[in-house]
């Protein structure tokens, strides 16, 4: 239980807190596209933080390379899957019933 392991576990704890806040926000917000933003940004940030903490804990080994592979794959696919869901909703005709910037009153 040296200092590096404790530092890595602190980073993992930080990432889990970010993830928990993201899930709370997904449950709290009332608009689909707002939840979309939370999924694609906050959750990806929590995932990246947890994986970086795991890399710090495991040190220089084969596990770090595998974690780097997982991190690279997740960074590539989180945005793609979020875009796929949002495009599916938009193409299918789902819109938010709020005043957008083009309809708002201009001064």
């Amino acid at each position: 239980m040296n200092v590096i392991v404790i530092a890595g576990q602190a980073v993992i704890l930080l990432g889990l807190l970010i993830t928990g806040f993201g899930v709370y926000t997904v449950l709290r917000l009332d608009s689909f596209y707002a939840r979309m933003v939370v999924t694609s940004k906050v959750e990806a940030m929590g995932f990246v933080t947890v994986v970086i903490g795991a890399m710090i804990v495991s040190g220089l080994s084969a596990a770090t390379l595998k974690l780097a592979t997982i991190l690279l794959f997740e960074l590539l696919t989180v945005s793609v899957s979020a875009h796929a869901i949002a495009r599916s909703a938009w193409v299918s005709g789902y819109r938010i019933r709020t005043v957008t910037t083009s309809e708002a009153r201009r001064d």
Binding site: Q9, I12, L13, L16, T19, G20, V23, Y24, V26, L27, F32, R35, M36, T39, E43, F47, V50, V51, A54, V57, S58, S61, A62, A63, K66, L67, T69, I70, F73, E74, T77, V78, V80, S81, A82, A84, I85, A86, R87, S88, A89, V91, S92, Y94
Partner: protein, 93 residues
């Protein structure tokens, strides 16, 4: 043996997974449910990573990569399916 910190981390991930699945159950539209499925797949990947750290076995990380790929495929293919309303690429119906 898995240590206390990793057990606590697994408990936190479990709470987050249950929150994501609540969004799957309560989502007003089908895309909210899809969003919850993607979120819980990401949480399961995190849980497998934490288990691999706790047992100090690096081969469990392959299963984490597998779960990551499966979550991506489920999300993208179901989103495409809903977007095309069940019609295949060049199919008639």
């Amino acid at each position: 043996m898995i240590s206390g910190f990793y057990l606590a981390a697994l408990a936190m991930i479990g709470v987050s997974t249950i929150g994501s699945l609540i969004r799957v159950l309560a989502g007003p539209t089908i895309w909210d449910r899809l969003l919850g499925v993607g979120l819980s797949a990401s949480k399961i990947t995190l849980a497998v990573i934490i288990v691999a750290l706790g047992f100090d076995e690096s081969y469990i990380l392959d299963i984490a990569l597998l779960f990551s790929i499966l979550g991506f495929l489920v999300t993208v293919l179901l989103a495409r399916f809903v977007e095309r309303r069940g019609v295949l690429e060049g199919g008639t119906e």
